[in-house]
């Protein structure tokens, strides 16, 4: 493997960003109005994710019924063509994917007001069309958007982001080249607060650097929250305009 310059002395990263810059973030909601009750399409850098929310609906089997709150189920489908090289196996039932699903369910369980929808099932289906690092954060963003589109009550946005640490410099919103070259932290931040719902570190990071990394991550997540908020508001305005012109 050729040695890549992850972070140049001039302060530029592989894709030309500075350390504290996000990737291109584009999102739209209500992309699949017939297939689901709420949907979103998200492009975060080269991550391309479709999220479909179906529900609250009647559970498929009786054993799933919870008389006090809704059941949240998330399934992540990482397509075989999502990476540069086509993967040989489908990723379903891989331990890594199961872990992701569990983490996502447990994150949104505390944020969605499930107690308002007893005896129902909220099914979230995610299709990862293309991935380029920091996938977990993008999944969180996609779900937040789709849940809002579905009109399901929740306390606040959850915005996800990953931050890498290159030597002593934290790099915001890493892509897959950066992710393989250094250790990174994934955060799921609740709204504009400093509360973390999700925090995952998978590689070694010096304990004394953690605080700076978290601080950068929280700032980045707040920025993403604003970007999502902007999209949602402009979408809503369009709809209101349509409704009133009728």
């Amino acid at each position: 493997m050729s040695r890549l310059e992850i972070y140049s002395p001039e302060g530029l990263r592989l894709d030309g960003r500075r350390w504290n810059e996000l990737r291109r973030f584009e999102s739209s909601i209500n992309t699949h109005p017939h297939a689901s009750d709420g949907s979103s399409y998200l492009e975060q850098g080269n991550n391309k994710i479709i999220t479909l929310v179906k529900g609250p609906k009647e559970p498929t089997s009786r054993s799933q019924v919870d008389t006090n709150k809704a059941l949240l189920r998330i399934s992540v489908n990482i397509t075989q063509f999502s990476k540069f090289e086509r993967s040989k196996s489908s990723h379903r039932n891989e331990r890594r994917v199961l872990e992701m699903q569990t983490a996502l369910v447990r994150t949104f369980e505390k944020n969605v007001m499930l107690n308002l929808y007893p005896r129902t099932l909220i099914d979230i289906e995610i299709h990862v069309l293309q991935q380029d690092g920091g996938i977990m954060g993008s999944l969180l963003n996609g779900i937040t958007l789709a849940l809002i589109d579905a009109g399901i009550a929740m306390y606040d946005y959850i915005s996800g982001i990953s931050v890498g640490l290159y030597d002593t410099t934290p790099l915001l919103d890493v892509n897959s080249l950066e992710e393989t070259a250094m250790s990174s932290v994934t955060l799921g931040v609740v709204g504009k607060s400093e509360k973390l719902s999700l925090l995952l570190v998978e590689d070694k990071i010096p304990l004394d650097r953690m605080e700076t990394v978290l601080a950068i991550g929280i700032a980045g997540a707040h920025r993403i929250r604003d970007l999502m908020d902007e999209e949602l508001r402009s979408h809503a305005e369009k709809r209101v305009a349509n409704a009133s012109s009728r």
Binding site: R95, T102, N111, L196, D208, E211
Partner: protein, 306 residues
Amino acid sequence: MAKEIEISNSESKFLLEALRQNYRLDGRSFSQFRDVKIAFGDEYGDVTIEMGKTKVHCRISCQITQPYEDRPFEGLFLISTENSPMAGPQFENGNNTNEDEVLIARIIEKAVRRSGALDIEGLCIVAGSKCWAVRADVHFLNCDGGFIDASCIAVMAGLLHFRKPDITVHGEQVIMHPVDEREPVPLGILHVPICVTFSFFNPMDTEENIKGDTNAEITIIDATLKEELLRDGVLTVTLNKNREVVQVSKAGGLPMDALSLMECCRKAYAITEEITDKITYVLKKDEKRRNKFADLLTSENARETS
């Protein structure tokens, strides 16, 4: 489907109220780790860990196999953490797709294997054709919470204790010397990761947790089974003595303030140091026990070679 342990409203109410008043059921303080008992078996790499009523056994074994084609210079290392009904009636045989069990397996995998605690390049014998395959089998013997922490200690203590048979290489030919013929050699351990699990409880309502800034959430270390069943959130931090964060996993659950999570990491470091020292201490003691006749065998009367 395996049934679950039923917990009554009285219990959950009582536990939370007790925590609010600064008590834990078993009399520990909030940031007190249970006393860890490490016992070695007769063979190398046979460890039993006891933390309160939690009991975990780990056995390390090795054999010579072929390395993966895409990694000819690396040996194989596998950690198997299979739950069996031996640990408690809530576990089922052969069904390891339960959410919690997947999380346990993944965290130990990340903490020990992915972090490179074992030097797998040192397991290579003949590049591309022969290497050692080291296997750690973790058995849960009794469940009273803290499986992740206990199994991580068990695997690491096992790896440190284990000796693989000595070998001689002649070109492609490998001779493995039985343990009674030649002193076996220890594995290359690069660092000792230790997992510390924190459990979070929310004494207020959900709104206060998400919107408020009182940060009144209660954090306790090393929960017992009952506390695990009732907790609102969990964080597992893995650190080593070099002040490196090896792995952090807070997979959802109660949202927590970033600063209090940092505080947890710092508390975990103190515990990591303590447990690492404990492992080194028991290893030394075991070494002494095994070599108690070493003095007799030294060649004090041997002729001087100079």
